[in-house]
Each structure stands twice: as structure tokens, then as C-alpha cells.
């Protein structure tokens, strides 16, 4: 932390069993075999001048600045492309080399503007550094052919089309680093070098950046040694003066970033090479879309109101907290202890989530705590716990580099989990095979240098039938890894399962009519997964958000166990988790039936350990889930809720039911950074803090606990954990923590899988993957290595049960929902950034065949109606969908996608069935009634009145 620059060894230090020893400038140095002379020199602190090399990329050898002399070799080889060898004797600085380097630099500078003093990269430019390093004192070439003078016919103007960075071709030294970064690191192949020789120029495929394939990940900007590609915030604000390592608050990949600061102003976010989840890469959200954190819409003062139709009144913290506390106590006195509850946030830190569930269990005296994971990955927890014994994915992200066959099911990593997708694409370019099971032709199916061997384009809602068919092939064709199963799994359960899937009715031929996937394709995919080497499964919400979500998770676990694909690198069953801390919020006991560490509330020993520390008696009965709370609210028995950092009106299914529930409550307390949709129905608003304003930890999809570090003071005066403590105090439940590290200490003391976790350990290691305890003091990258956490792996019988949501004459199409790269979840953050330029509204994707039947053309406003409600969206004609299936996203509140989703849900966890809704689509000329009402209420329920009490 604090280091302004991360070390750049020029070329990657290789991983190799063998080391070689060479002599550089008279000093002996040992490095792993395959490491370049340049990197070897760097390990002993010798910086050989370089321009085209950087350790995020493979060496390229084009700039000729890194020349060295090697005894016994002729000429002056480039140190970046020369591998170290045993006994080599290298000289990095000789008069001959100095002259050559000066000559090279002179040529570069002769075609480079000399406006260093006013350049955005002044102080952070490798060209400038190299000119200094080689001692360049004069440039002997006169004005000639150049790319610098605006009058020159080679001059190209700046490209400012991307909202986050600028491309200034006049400063380009054509080192190719950006092109290689886009290929090797990001895997998008958006950039090329156009033209030859002196004419060559970087080009985003012949158009401007915004109009190109570029996904704005920023890799090229980091790679660029000059000011040619530079962040707009740096142009605007200048160079940062300090850096703090923290964690992205967007998705479950959990990328580490260096927040580069001037005082308490954030200048830019740069992915950290030391971050184990991302290893120096990022996506547009974490890298650039952080402007929401200081957006003018932030609410920074507490507010209250008596009725939701009243304007909000700004008040002091004391008044707001006092109001919330007295209302909650009144409600409990009047309607009973169970009449209140709360929701923890997957966007807040582990420590904050822990405190909210503690407040509810210990302070409210019930277990009415739930979290938004309910609507995304609750089936993952249930399914993996039942089969393997832990509610989490089995691998670290790095493991994918060892996979031979990757099965991606119901996930769209290039949009949802971009940095993981880049790792995956890298592995696929090296030759691993890909199978995609998805109703939609996602980008991975066919992209630059990546192609799925099989795309199983199934009908939404038939996942389990497809998995059973794959299992059928594996069992009946004798592809089961019998030794593994015998050693590692419960045999009785295996045999019942094998008998079950072997039944003819599960064969690919028999299920083809249901899934819509050709039998031959299923058979080929099954054989590939079972016999292609290390088989790894990655899945997303397309698996969990179904009425059989939990069944499907177990079906995938069965498949992995049957083929021996659990317990080492390169294999596994891995959820791609949605929100940044959805794993952590589940770990921290956010579910009504579980205390932290996934231990049931009825488990006496566990409960007693919490009771002893907290000094209260805890209820041994499971509390209400979010849908139960809403039902009870409508029924008049649930009256108050404390929601930290969630927006259930927008994210939960059947919006009108959610609203009815909230409207029936007497005290709704919202803690958030924005006046979100749910806050329209609230009586008390407590300002939340962004991830930049607090200390804490997030846990990503690989169970990795990463530090979040405070870089600026909370705009509202208190960080979220402090607000919960203050609320608890107002309720008469004092909590004593001076810093989030003390909360983590309590978590570690009470939770066996976190026993070894402390801020000191995180400081030392950077991050750690739970379980982390005496048995695994450094954490656990890969789970179930010698045995399953539950002992023997448990096969479960997974009968396909079709959802009750059926298409019919009134609703003949299936609507499925998803997400896109530039927007995030309910969009509250990304909509408040320039990311919206990539996605201004939610649209309906419809197949040309369905469109034509309905007389719909591209851009038409269409009504999408289901049994729950209807909305209007603009149509996009797309062959990514199969006929009969339409698709939309839910990033914009005003489109109201969840007005039409139904209340069907997963049988085990009530995770809503977002992925299947029967709808009808027709042309329309007006927004739906719900949308019109939304527009009116958007104003009416958000009014903020003048502050009556000016004293804060």
C-alpha cells in the first residue's frame, strides 16, 4: 500500500521447476528457467531500458532499446526476448550499448511532440524516463516527415469518443503494447496496427474507439508507455500522489484496485497486479465507472417522514435513528416480536452484514433476516451444501488455466464477469475446449479466436432435463470415473442416482423434445466433458433463477463427482456470483435459518457460543424469508423493516406485490447511498457510504476475502457499520467496536471456517480464501481435495419437474432475463456514470421470425405482457435468441422488467424464477399503465422538503 508504482519486470517471471543461474554485470542471479534476461536483471534491481516490454504481456522485441551484450554471442541481442541460460555472462551497460540506445531514442523523439510540461503523462511516461535514462541531449533530425505537426498529412486528430480515455495518435511510438494487451490480457482483439513502416498507426479496427469492438476494459491504457492512451480523469486532474489498494464494489470477481489519489480526491482506479482474483486486469465498471460514488444524487443527510406521500424532511442522525428505534419498539409491543425484520446487503462489507444480522437476531429477538442472495444464488448454497458439504464454489479463478474442457451453463461471463472471462478466453486460445449451455447465443459461443465446440441451445426452464441427459450418456456409455466415485462418494446414493439417470426416459433422444437440443449434440458434449481431461463447470443465474434452481445445482455436482472432476486444479463446480459480496453476505449469516458459517439456528452448540458472547438468548426457529415478510405484511402481521443497501422494489420479482407489502408496513427504514426505488416506500432514510468511504472486507466468488480500504471520509458522516451500531444503540442494544477489524475478530472467534482470519493476516497476504483456520492457516484455494467437507460426496436424484409457468395461446413466448457488460444489476451505480452511453435503455430482443409474425420491426415500441403485468420496451431484432424466446435486461427501473416476472420460485430456497416467464409481445404506441404511474410516482414519492431543523 502507498507505493505509487508497482514493479514491472518487463517480461513475466516464468513458473518453472528448474532454475538457471547467470551473471549480470558481474553479479550472479538465479531465476526460473524460461525467464528473460531483462526480468532476471530486474530481480536484482537492474533496470535495462525498455519501451515495448511490460510484464503483463509476452515479450515482443520491437523497440531495440533493451539491447545487451552477452559474452560469447555476436551482436547485441534484445534482453526481453532472450531467455536466461545457465552460465550466461551479460553486460547491460557498455559504451557500445549506450550509443545504440541513444540512437534509438533519438529516432523516437524526432517524431514525438516535445510538450512534456503540459502533457497529461508528465511524471508517468516511460518515453520521458527512457530519454532520461539513456542521456539523450539532442535530436539531430530536422523537421521532416512526422505525425506531430497538425499541418502534416500524417497527423491524426485525437479520438475522444470513449467517455473514459483519450487516444492521441501524435504521441504514439507504435510499441504495440496496447494491441497486445487487448489480445493477450483482455482477449477482445479490438486494436490493430494499420499501415506499414513509418505509416503504421494503432487503430480500433478502422473506426473510433466508441464505435469499435472495444469494451473499455482499460488494459491498453495501462499498457501504453506514453500519453497516447490516457485516462480522462488524469488529463483533467493531473498525476495522483498516493495509492491505496482496495477491492472493486461491483461484481463477484472481486478485482483488486489501486485507488490513486490526490488528497481525498480519487484520480483513477488501476487494477492491481498483486490482486489474486484479477492479477492486474479489470473491466469497464471497476476501472472507470466509479463516478457514482460522488454523484450529486448521493443523499448525505438523514431524513424522515410520516407518510410515504409526504415530502422527506432532513433531520439530525439522532432524530432519524430515534424515530426508527421508537417505531420498531412500538411495533413489537403492539404486534409482537416477529413483526419486524431486516435485509442485509450483498454490496456492503462482511463486517457490516455481520452487524445487521447480529442486530436482528440479538436486538430484534427474532431470525427475520434475509438478503438479496435470496434472489440470485441461494440455490447454490443449498445445492452445494447438500452434495459437497460447503455453500461455495470449489476453485480459485486461476484454476481455469488448468482446465481442458470448460462447461459454461446459464452464465454470460464476458458481460457478467468480464475479468474471469478474460482468463477463460486466454485458456481457450491455448486450446481448451468449450461447451456452452444457454438459450441465447452469448458472445463466447463465437468470438475472436474463441469458439464453443458445442452450443446446447436449450429451451429456458429445461436445465435439469439437459443435465440428466448428459448424465445418462456418461453412465450408460461407461464414462463414470469409478475409482473416484468408489473412494470419494457415498456408494448407495451413487447407485440410486446411476439407476435413475440410466432410465431410457433420460436419454438425449427422449429429452430432445423437451430441451430442444439435438440428441447427437448432447451425446458429443457429454463425451467431451467426461473424457476431455480436466472438466470445469462455471455457472450463473441461468442455473439458479429457476423453479428447479437447487435441483440443477445438485445435478451439476452429480456430474462433476461422477467424472471425478472435483478436488484438484482445473476442475470443479463454480458459481459466478453476481454482486461483489454476495458470497460474504451468505457466509456472514444473512439467511433466516443460519448463523454465520452456515450453521443452523437450531444447532444448540452453535447458538450457545453466540449467546455467550452476545449475552442474549437467541431463537432456535428459522425466521422469515423476504417473500414471507412481504406476504405477512400484506396479511397485516409484519410491520417494520430495516433494509441496508438493497433495492428490493427493483430487484425482486413481481414488483406490484413487493410494493403492496412495503405499503402495508408502518415503518420502513432504508440505508442507502441513493434514494432508490425501495426508498419511495420508506419512512426513515439513513445515508449509506460508498466502498471508498469505509474499511472492511468483501468475499468474492472464489471465497477470497479481500480488503476494502477507506480513501475518503463518509459523505454522510458515518460508514454503514457505524450507522448500524448507532441504530443498535438507539434500540438499547449497545455494540462496542472501534474499527471493522474488531468485528472481524469477533467473526473469527465464533466461526470455525474463519478462525484464522484477521486484518493482520490480510495485510500480510493481501487476501485469503476461507476456510482459513488451524487446518489451513493460509486459506484454501481449492476445496474437497482429499475428502469432501461433508465426508463422502452425496449424489442426489434430480427429477426434472417442468415449471408451472407455461406458455399457451395467451402467452405464447418465453421471456428470459440477463445482464450486459456496462450496466450492473439494478443500475443504481452504473446509470449514474458514462457507462449509460453503452446501454441507454432496456430493450427486448426478439427473433426475426417472431417479430415478423407480429409485424414488429427494429426499434418499434412493443408491449410485453405476462400473467403478472405488462410493460413497453423497444424491440431489437436478433438471431441470438431461438424462435419462441425473447430476452431483456433489468438495469433500468423505469422499464420495470420485474413487473412482468412472476412469483414462481425455486422449491428449496424460493429464489425467484426470473429466467422463465410466459409472455405475449405486440406492437404498441404507448408506455404501459405501470410505466405511466411509475413516472408520476417517481416524482411524487421522492420529494425532499426544506429542512425544518438546520442544526445537523
Amino acid at each position: 500500500m502507498g507505493l505509487m508504482k508497482e514493479l514491472d519486470t518487463g517480461t513475466p517471471i516464468r513458473v518453472a521447476a528448474q532454475t538457471v543461474t547467470l551473471t549480470i554485470d558481474g553479479q550472479s542471479v538465479s531465476v526460473p528457467a524460461g525467464t528473460s534476461v531483462m526480468a532476471a536483471a530486474m530481480t536484482m534491481g537492474t533496470k535495462i531500458p525498455k519501451l515495448c516490454a511490460t510484464d503483463m504481456l509476452e515479450p515482443f522485441g520491437s523497440c531495440r532499446l533493451c539491447l545487451v551484450e552477452i559474452e560469447g554471442r555476436r551482436g547485441t541481442p534484445a534482453s526481453c526476448t532472450t531467455p536466461s541460460e545457465d552460465g550466461m555472462v551479460v553486460h547491460t551497460h557498455t559504451p557500445k550499448l549506450a550509443k545504440l540506445r541513444k540512437g534509438v531514442m533519438e529516432l523516437y523523439i524526432s517524431d514525438h511532440p516535445l510538450d512534456c510540461l503540459t502533457c497529461a503523462s508528465n511524471g508517468d511516461c516511460e518515453l520521458q524516463d527512457m530519454a532520461g535514462a539513456v542521456g539523450l541531449r539532442e535530436v539531430r533530425y530536422g523537421e521532416g516527415e512526422n505525425h506531430v505537426a497538425p499541418a502534416s498529412d500524417r497527423f491524426l486528430p485525437k479520438d475522444t469518443s470513449n467517455p473514459y480515455f483519450t487516444y492521441d495518435p501524435s504521441k504514439c511510438i507504435v510499441c504495440n503494447r496496447c494491441v497486445r494487451a487487448c489480445e493477450e490480457v483482455q482477449g477482445t482483439f479490438a486494436l490493430t496496427i494499420e499501415g506499414r513502416g513509418f505509416d503504421s498507426r494503432v487503430s480500433p479496427g478502422g473506426t473510433d474507439f466508441f464505435g469499435s469492438e472495444c469494451v473499455s476494459c482499460g488494459a491498453c491504457v495501462q499498457a501504453c508507455p506514453t500519453a497516447t492512451l490516457v485516462e480522462n480523469t488524469v488529463i483533467e486532474k493531473g498525476q495522483p500522489e498516493r495509492a491505496v489498494v482496495t477491492t472493486c464494489a461491483y461484481c463477484g470477481v472481486g478485482c483488486s484496485f489501486r485507488a490513486e489519489m490526490q488528497g481525498d480526491t480519487l484520480v483513477r482506479m488501476v487494477p492491481s497486479k498483486g490482486g489474486k482474483a484479477n492479477e492486474g486486469h479489470s473491466c469497464v465498471k471497476g476501472r472507470f465507472a466509479w463516478g457514482y460514488a460522488t454523484h450529486k444524487d448521493r443523499i448525505t443527510r438523514p431524513m424522515v417522514r410520516d407518510r410515504i406521500t409526504d415530502p422527506w424532511r432532513e433531520v439530525s442522525w439522532q432524530e432519524a435513528l430515534g424515530r426508527a428505534a421508537s417505531e420498531f419498539r412500538r411495533i413489537q409491543a403492539q404486534y409482537g416480536k416477529d413483526a419486524i425484520g431486516g435485509i442485509t446487503s450483498s454490496r456492503c462489507t462482511n463486517e457490516e452484514t455481520y452487524l445487521v444480522q447480529k442486530l436482528i437476531r440479538a436486538g430484534f429477538g427474532n431470525n427475520n433476516v434475509d438478503t438479496c442472495a435470496r434472489v440470485c444464488h441461494s440455490p447454490t448454497g443449498y445445492g452445494l451444501k447438500t452434495t459437497f458439504g460447503t455453500s461455495a464454489g470449489t476453485q480459485d479463478f486461476k484454476s481455469v488455466a488448468k482446465a481442458d474442457v470448460v462447461l459454461v451453463i446459464g452464465a454470460n461471463p464476458t458481460d457478467g464477469h468480464p475479468v474471469f472471462a478474460s482468463r477463460l478466453k486466454k485458456r481457450l486460445r491455448q486450446g481448451a475446449k468449450l461447451i456452452v449451455a444457454d438459450p441465447r447465443r452469448i458472445d463466447l459461443v463465437k468470438g475472436p479466436h474463441v469458439r464453443a465446440e458445442h452450443h446446447l441451445q436449450l429451451v429456458p426452464g429445461t436445465n435439469v432435463a439437459l443435465m440428466n441427459a448428459i448424465a445418462h450418456v456418461i453412465v450408460t456409455e461407461g464414462l463414470v470415473d469409478e475409482r473416484y466415485v468408489r473412494e470419494r462418494c457415498d456408494l448407495g446414493d451413487f447407485e440410486s442416482w446411476a439407476r435413475f439417470v440410466a432410465e431410457d426416459r433420460h436419454s438425449p433422444e427422449a429429452t430432445e423434445a423437451v430441451t430442444g437440443v439435438p440428441a447427437a449434440e448432447v451425446r458429443a458434449a457429454a463425451r467431451l466433458y467426461a473424457t476431455g481431461g480436466n472438466g470445469a463447470i462455471y455457472y450463473g443465474l441461468g442455473v439458479t433463477e429457476h423453479s428447479q434452481g437447487s435441483t440443477m445445482v445438485m445435478a451439476m455436482a452429480n456430474l462433476a463427482m461422477a467424472t471425478g472432476n472435483i478436488g484438484r486444479e482445473g476442475v470443479g463446480v463454480n458459481p459466478l456470483r453476481g454482486q461483489n459480496n454476495v458470497q460474504g453476505s451468505c457466509d456472514m449469516g444473512s439467511f433466516p435459518h443460519e448463523l454465520p458459517g452456515y450453521r443452523h439456528v437450531s444447532d444448540d452448540a452453535t447458538r450457545e457460543s453466540f449467546e455467550a458472547l452476545w449475552g442474549v438468548t437467541l431463537s432456535s426457529d428459522p425466521g422469515m424469508r423476504i417473500p414471507n415478510m412481504l406476504d405477512e405484511a400484506v396479511a397485516g402481521t409484519f410491520k417494520g423493516i430495516y433494509i441496508q443497501g438493497e433495492d428490493i422494489v427493483q430487484s425482486d420479482p413481481d414488483t406490484q406485490h413487493v410494493v403492496a407489502g412495503l405499503e402495508a408496513m408502518e415503518c420502513v427504514v432504508i440505508q442507502d447511498i441513493f434514494l432508490n426505488e425501495t426508498a419511495k416506500y420508506a419512512h426513515v432514510f439513513l445515508p449509506g457510504s460508498s466502498f471508498l468511504e469505509k474499511d472492511g472486507t468483501f468475499t468474492n466468488a472464489e471465497r477470497r476475502i479481500n480488503r476494502v480500504r477507506k480513501v475518503m471520509a463518509p459523505l454522510g458522516g458515518m460508514a454503514d457499520w457505524e450507522v448500524t451500531i448507532a441504530f443498535a444503540e438507539a434500540l438499547g442494544v449497545p455494540m462496542h467496536y472501534g474499527h471493522p477489524s474488531e468485528i472481524m475478530d469477533e467473526i473469527a472467534a465464533l466461526t470455525p471456517s474463519f478462525a484464522g482470519v484477521s486484518y493482520a493476516l490480510l495485510e500480510e497476504k493481501g487476501s485469503v480464501q476461507w476456510p482459513c483456520n488451524a487446518a489451513a492457516p493460509e486459506g484454501t484455494p481449492i476445496m474437497h481435495v482429499d475428502r469432501f467437507v461433508r465426508g463422502k460426496g452425496k449424489f442426489m436424484i434430480t427429477e426434472f419437474v417442468a415449471t408451472e409457468e407455461r406458455t399457451g395461446p395467451r402467452f405464447p413466448l418465453i421471456l428470459t432475463t440477463g445482464r450486459i457488460l456496462s450496466q450492473y444489476n439494478v443500475g443504481a451505480q452504473t446509470r449514474r456514470t458514462a457507462n449509460s452511453r453503452w446501454h441507454e435503455e432496456d430493450v427486448l430482443e426478439i427473433h426475426p421470425f417472431d417479430a415478423e409474425q407480429r409485424g414488429i420491426v427494429e426499434g418499434d415500441l412493443v408491449s410485453v405482457a405476462s400473467r403478472s403485468g405488462d410493460i413497453a420496451l423497444h424491440a431489437v431484432i436478433s438471431e441470438r435468441m431461438q424462435p419462441g424466446v425473447v430476452y431483456t435486461t433489468f438495469h433500468h427501473a423505469k422499464s420495470g422488467a420485474n413487473v412482468i416476472t412472476t412469483e414462481f420460485s425455486d422449491w428449496a430456497t424460493n429464489c425467484p424464477e426470473y429466467k422463465v416467464t410466459a409472455v405475449q409481445v405486440r406492437r404498441t404506441n404507448r408506455p404501459s399503465d405501470w410505466q405511466l404511474r411509475f413516472e408520476q410516482e417517481d416524482e411524487a414519492l421522492r420529494r425532499i422538503g426544506p429542512a425544518l431543523d438546520a442544526a445537523e
Binding site: 416477529d338 437447487s550 396479511a635 427429477e799 419437474v801 422449491w907 430456497t909
Partner: protein, 70 residues
Amino acid sequence: MDTAKLARMGNQIAAFFRSYPEEQAVASIRDHVRQFWTPKMRETARAACERGEGGFDPLVVRALVERERV
């Protein structure tokens, strides 16, 4: 919470465990309900089952009603 909704939830759980031998299915349903449903939900459902109302799957009825006897 209305009985129809509880019946739908219960019957969905039964649909999963139906693949198992009946005794095992009944025990698994009972265990599932005990783990995840609030006491009030269990009571409401059990009362409806005892009255023979709500359209509960016979497996759910057994799981909820017999529990009282053991």
C-alpha cells in the same frame, strides 16, 4: 400466509423428494420444512393438512401431520 401458497411450496418440495422411497421422502420433506419454514408457516400448514384442506400432496400431509406423533 395463505394456505394455497404454503401448499404450493410444500408440493414443490414433495415433487423433488418423490424420487426417493416413500419413508425417506417423508422424512426429507419433514426435515426440509423444519429447517426452512417459520413455526407459524409449519403450524398453518399442519392445521390445514389435518383438516384435509388446501390441496397438500399426500407426502407433505404425512410429513407434517405424523411429526406430531413421533
